[in-house]
């Protein structure tokens, strides 16, 4: 289990912070959003429920667009388009 931040395609990135607990998922999400360009899409995978509420508000506060929000097998998947 280690944090993974990968470029998965042209303008698409994936952040995998499964196994991590507060505050790691939200801080890595924040930093990933800072690193990518406007219009790029970031997929975040995490399994710490307490982080989700903060990440969702962070997306709203930043004016980003939430393209996908699903939970499967205890893991949470968010797809965010950076504003």
């Amino acid at each position: 289990m280690a944090m993974k931040f990968e470029k998965t395609g042209d303008g698409t990135y994936e952040l995998d912070v499964c196994g991590y607990v507060c505050p790691h998922p939200q801080i890595y999400t924040k930093k990933s959003l800072e690193k990518i360009q406007e219009g790029d899409v970031l997929s975040v995978i995490f399994d710490n429920p307490s982080s989700k509420e903060t990440i969702l508000q962070m997306i709203d506060q930043g004016g980003h667009e939430l393209l996908e929000d699903k939970t499967e097998g205890g893991k949470m998947y968010l797809k965010i388009e950076k504003a």
Binding site: K7, C22, P23, Q26, K35, N48, P49, D60, Q61
Partner: protein
């Protein structure tokens, strides 16, 4: 998926059923244990609410500084406002168990240490407990090694550490020891650094609430409402909400508002009404946190009322008296008491658990003031406040199971390090202040004790330092990950 849901529901009902059974067993053993049962179920209620609302004091300042998210800071202010009103009603009705703590600069330093710790470990004292209930074993490391064992060792260490104590504290502690011995025949144990600090310094600091200051010592309803609730809790909470709105929410809200006005072909001007609308939008942005803020505040008040009723029913002011009536003299301290706050509290009982464990390995924990004279060291199953902490863990576990969010997570070596170091700092930061984010900040700020805010300021500053360190650490890791881009 359906099987997972059914299994989670089964566990939720099983845990609740076992707690009901335990409650019946206690009641059938002795009616005095109702006192302890009340703690179990208030703990259970807190646990459910904390988990549902993701209610963590660490998150309040950490997410604000690190991610610009005000959700939790807003939730805490709401809880504080509601709790302070209920507390004022209870004080007016002489049904409160609240007591202020010795006031001083020690609260600030203690808060800073605790604040750093809660950011590193990923949860405050109460937040760590509810996260244990979610299956987060990093939080368990913080609780066991920091809040339990670390805290117990912290108050019992003497030897070379005693040399760092100011002579005035040592002299005062010795004078107090002699005075108590001559007055009651009890020789108080002053062996550790903490004993000197407690008896030689803390006990000599003034204890007051705003209501007492306003009234000259005899507060009535008006003083409790105006002084304790309004001046010490509601006003600062509203001011903080305004500050948080201005720095963290206003810009994006006004931007969105102007965009909407432009779309409608209206002039892009905003006024005071829009600012109120923006404040309300911030408060309701995370409805589950804000609603839980209201419920946590009301429940904390109801808890005080229930404990006061229990004390009146049995004619006692501390559970230690009931333990003695049941013949458990070995559980109580030299003055016949055990730790029994009478309201929501977290860390002292966890220190007792740590001390209980150390004693099983032969470390005498009765030879200090904290356990030996003030709080006692009851057997685990007769420790009322410890049952409240267990109640929080199990209440959170039930809620996490019902929401299919329970996941047993074994920490990696990295998280182990964060949990351990943060937990130790939280343990160290909750003892000099005689409380943590709940006992030292939340309860005191709502009860009219300015100490709560002194601790709160320290806690927020500590969280700021913790976030700085965390940012530096995570930035390095991100840079490493991005090398291949």
């Amino acid at each position: 998926m359906e099987n997972v849901e059914k299994r989670n529901q089964f566990w939720a009902f099983l845990i609740t059923g076992v707690l009901i059974l335990i409650s019946f067993l206690y009641y059938s053993a002795n009616v005095y244990y109702i006192y302890l049962i009340v703690y179990i179920w208030f703990g259970y209620a807190y646990g459910m609410m904390l988990q549902y609302g993701r209610f963590c004091f660490a998150s309040a300042s950490r997410d604000l500084f690190a991610a610009g998210v005000p959700r939790m800071a807003v939730g805490i202010m709401i809880a504080l406002i509601f709790f302070s009103v209920v507390e004022a009603i209870l004080e007016t009705s002489h049904l409160s168990t609240f007591h202020p703590a010795p006031f001083g600069i020690h609260m600030l330093f203690s808060g800073v240490i605790f604040g750093v710790g809660m950011v590193l470990s990923g949860g405050c004292a109460s937040g760590s407990l509810y996260k244990v209930g979610e299956g987060n074993m990093t939080s368990l490391i913080a609780v066991i090694f920091g809040l339990c064992l670390g805290q117990a060792a912290f108050v019992d260490i003497g030897g070379v550490f005693n040399n760092f104590m100011p002579q005035s504290w040592v002299d005062k502690a010795m004078q107090t020891q002699a005075a108590i011995a001559s007055a009651s025949g009890v020789h108080i144990p002053i062996t550790s650094w903490f004993d000197h600090y407690l008896v030689g310094y803390v006990w000599n600091q003034p204890q007051f609430t705003i209501a007492k200051l306003m009234s000259g010592g005899n507060p009535t309803g008006i003083h409790f409402f105006i002084g304790n609730a309004f001046i010490n809790a509601i006003l600062p909470a509203i001011l903080l909400l305004c500050v948080i709105y201005y720095f963290y929410s206003r810009k994006i809200f006004i931007k969105k508002k102007k965009k909407a006005l432009k779309k409608q072909g209206l002039p892009e001007t905003t006024g005071l009404k829009d600012e109120f609308e923006g404040m309300w939008a911030m408060i309701t942005a995370s409805s589950r946190t804000s609603i839980m803020g209201v419920l946590v505040g009301l429940t904390a008040g109801l808890h005080i009322l229930t404990m006061a009723a229990m004390q009146k029913k049995f004619g006692v002011t501390n559970f230690g008296t009931l333990l003695k009536r049941m013949g458990h003299f070995e559980d109580v301290s030299l003055k016949g008491t055990v730790f029994d706050p009478g309201y929501w509290y977290i860390t002292s009982q966890e220190g007792q658990l740590g001390a209980w464990i150390f004693e099983k390995f032969g470390w005498n924990m009765h030879d200090n003031m904290f356990f030996g004279y003030v709080n006692g060291l009851p057997e685990l199953w007769r420790n009322p406040a410890l049952w409240m902490s267990l109640g929080i863990v199990f209440g959170a576990m039930v809620m996490a199971r019902l929401q299919n969010e329970f996941k047993f997570k074994v920490p990696s070596p990295e998280l182990l390090m964060w949990g351990f170091s943060g937990g130790l700092l939280m343990g160290m930061g909750s003892r000099p202040s005689l409380g943590c984010n709940i006992g030292a900040f939340f309860i005191r700020a709502a009860g009219g004790d300015p100490n709560g805010w002194v601790y709160g300021i320290g806690m927020v500053f500590g969280a700021f330092l913790g976030v700085k360190f965390f940012n530096w650490f995570t930035e390095r890791k991100m840079a490493k990950e991005m090398e291949s881009f």
